[in-house]
Symmetry: C2
Subunit: 386 residues, 2 copies
């Protein structure tokens, strides 16, 4: 367990924010988090972002966002780990507060993918793969997921439609989330008719990229208990890297980094998967959702998809996932995604999830992946006294 | 004072490494640092890098470099703060160890600018400026330095040649540094004849960009004292942001972030500028060297240049700077620069600086700037028992 608690959360709608700049987007989430925490005293800022340098010709987001948010002077840097940048920024905020050298830290994830529309967004996202061994050959993130999914279908004798439950669940939850990118429900029978992206991955397997920002404020737990009626304790935190290149993984169907980061976070929290009330999973692709459930210990190998088939990932299931729509329906703003997940778990534990509420949720896990599992960040949060 | 000490350092030659990939470059520095520390047990890696996404189409360096260096599984992310990325990575390593959640951390700065040769390197470096208010108008890092320098010359009635001492000193020291990018000495009378870059800034005011990597391993001081005969204590560490846009600074000749980060680091170490035996300054431009000396308290306002004129920045001067050549002669590998500075201070304090040695050096300061002062990271190191 850490000595760190969440005292403020904020997020923007995920979508196509053509008329909002990168810095404004970040500020909207920060403003909401500052309001929520009822503080303006922030010592350090960790910006989770993947592509602003490529898409917006803007690096140096720490100073930029600190200044624009009225927090000039703060210790502020960008933290990047491909699509896991948001979770990695949260991890740095936790380490900073735990160090005692930083009293209050803000982790903000922001991504402005519309700045790259028409100018190679797919290529930009591929920078999270291995440039010299994958991307150089034209491999994409969806292409890697397709290889994993085809192998899984082969290995376990499944069909594409066996994955429908993941997207149906995500869209059912997203429909109740006012800030979700897609609020339409999805019928299982329509799932297999979706246009292909990288066979067997289709449009309904794959999360949409969107603009968005989410922010989380953390401080020492003893201060948090005085500052807010509903502090959320960070009881587990672990970032583990693995191999980016799929060709170099010992087993393409085992997310080694995801498994190890979940194990480390659970050990730190002295918990087991049975103790987890909800799991914000990195469902950038349905195959990643299935493999993540297996890696984290919620299903045996080859059986992650069965949790979706059997309705066990729904609100009243054994392990609810993607409770606000997940990457699939809430949307995937890349470097911001990991912080949306933290905000969502915190909302569940504060019993402020509205129609998306998991009844009685007291312990939640969030896991953010980069490069289809090359990096995995797991956080476990616990309602601390309410 | 922190509870953190340096147990290993490593660096590569700075220059044009056309035949070495980004990951190899990082590995060479990491290998040297692991050898120096006589350990292969690294829990976390902080990669200081500014432009790999832009220039090498490679983000996600944490996982990439951990895996390639035989450190697969390590907690590893990229830390970016423009040209201050290296110092910022060092700062994260210090926070991580200080937190107690990470036992041994490695900060590695790496930049491969030759990957961007001919394809807009100047534009890529401009991503450290404010994209919407500076770079969009064609402003460059050298252009901003030129505005600062012109104002300084005007304000204090100086000429370009009054800055010669900075470059003469840097090249004199670089000539004795086997891994420096430029080992030629520079005559003061040739200084003013250099080709203009952005008037009044000339080629001899401006540090050359180069490829390079530098690495530093830190752990708890109590462990360090058992692991190495020459641990170097991190007694001060501070990262402060200011305004990136020059137009928005209250005073274009006052590096607010640099001043505050120096003050914070000194206060943490319970030291004053008089206690500092050498200062690795961010001399990306001669004007930045002058302003940094003023901001850190080594000279009164408007008098930083006099330290160069009077020879006070030389090896036997009052405050030796750029003791291995600084950015100007050792070279400026952007996101790696801040870690070269840390390696250099550590070498001085370990009395392993060879011909570059400052006699009797016991306390050294390193300051790394991003975006011409938008971010400033200051570290103060102390020889702990030798």
């Amino acid at each position: 367990m850490t000595n760190v608690s969440i005292i403020g959360i904020g997020q923007t709608e995920v979508g196509e924010h053509w008329d909002v700049s990168l810095r404004h987007l970040a500020w909207y989430a920060i403003e909401a988090a500052l309001d929520d925490a009822a503080t303006t005293s922030i010592d350090a800022i960790y910006v989770g972002n993947m592509l602003a340098g490529d898409l917006s010709a803007q690096d140096h987001l720490g100073a930029l966002i600190a200044d624009f948010s009225g927090l000039r002077g703060a210790d502020a840097v960008t933290v990047e780990a491909a699509e896991a940048s948001g979770g990695a920024a949260m991890r740095q905020a936790v380490l900073a507060v735990q160090s005692g050298l930083v009293e209050t830290a803000l982790a903000v994830g922001v991504e402005k993918v519309t700045d790259g529309a028409g100018s190679g967004l797919v290529k930009a996202v591929s920078t999270g793969l291995d440039a010299d061994y994958e991307a150089v050959h034209g491999q994409t993130v969806a292409g890697v997921a397709a290889l994993m999914m085809r192998r899984y279908l082969h290995e376990y004798g499944l069909e594409l439609s066996d994955f429908a439950g993941f997207s149906v669940n995500a869209h059912a939850n997203g429909a109740d989330n006012p800030i979700a990118m897609f609020r339409n429900r999805l019928k299982a029978e329509r799932f297999a008719d979706a246009p292909p992206v990288a066979t067997p991955v289709t449009l309904f397997d794959m999360a949409p990229l969107g603009d968005g920002a989410a922010a989380v404020i953390v401080t020492r737990s003893d201060r948090a208990d005085d500052m807010t009626p509903k502090p959320v304790r960070v009881v587990g935190s672990a970032l583990v890297t693995g191999t980016i290149g799929l060709h170099d993984r010992q087993d393409p169907l085992w997310l080694e980094a995801a498994a190890r980061s979940a194990q480390k976070a659970l050990a730190m929290a002295q918990l087991t998967p049975d103790d987890i009330d909800l799991f914000e999973v990195h469902d950038g692709f349905t195959i990643l959702a299935a493999l993540s459930l297996e890696a984290a210990g919620f299903a045996a190998r080859g059986q992650g998809w069965q949790l979706a088939r059997d309705g066990e990932i729904g609100r009243n299931g054994r392990i609810p996932i993607s409770t606000f729509g997940g990457l699939k329906a809430r949307g995937n703003p890349l470097g911001a995604t990991g912080l949306y997940q933290i905000v969502e778990v915190a909302r569940q534990l504060r019993a402020e999830a509205g129609a998306c509420q998991i009844e009685g949720a007291r312990i939640g896990m969030a896991q953010n992946l980069g490069g289809n599992g090359g990096t995995a960040v797991t956080h476990i949060l616990q309602a601390s006294r309410f």
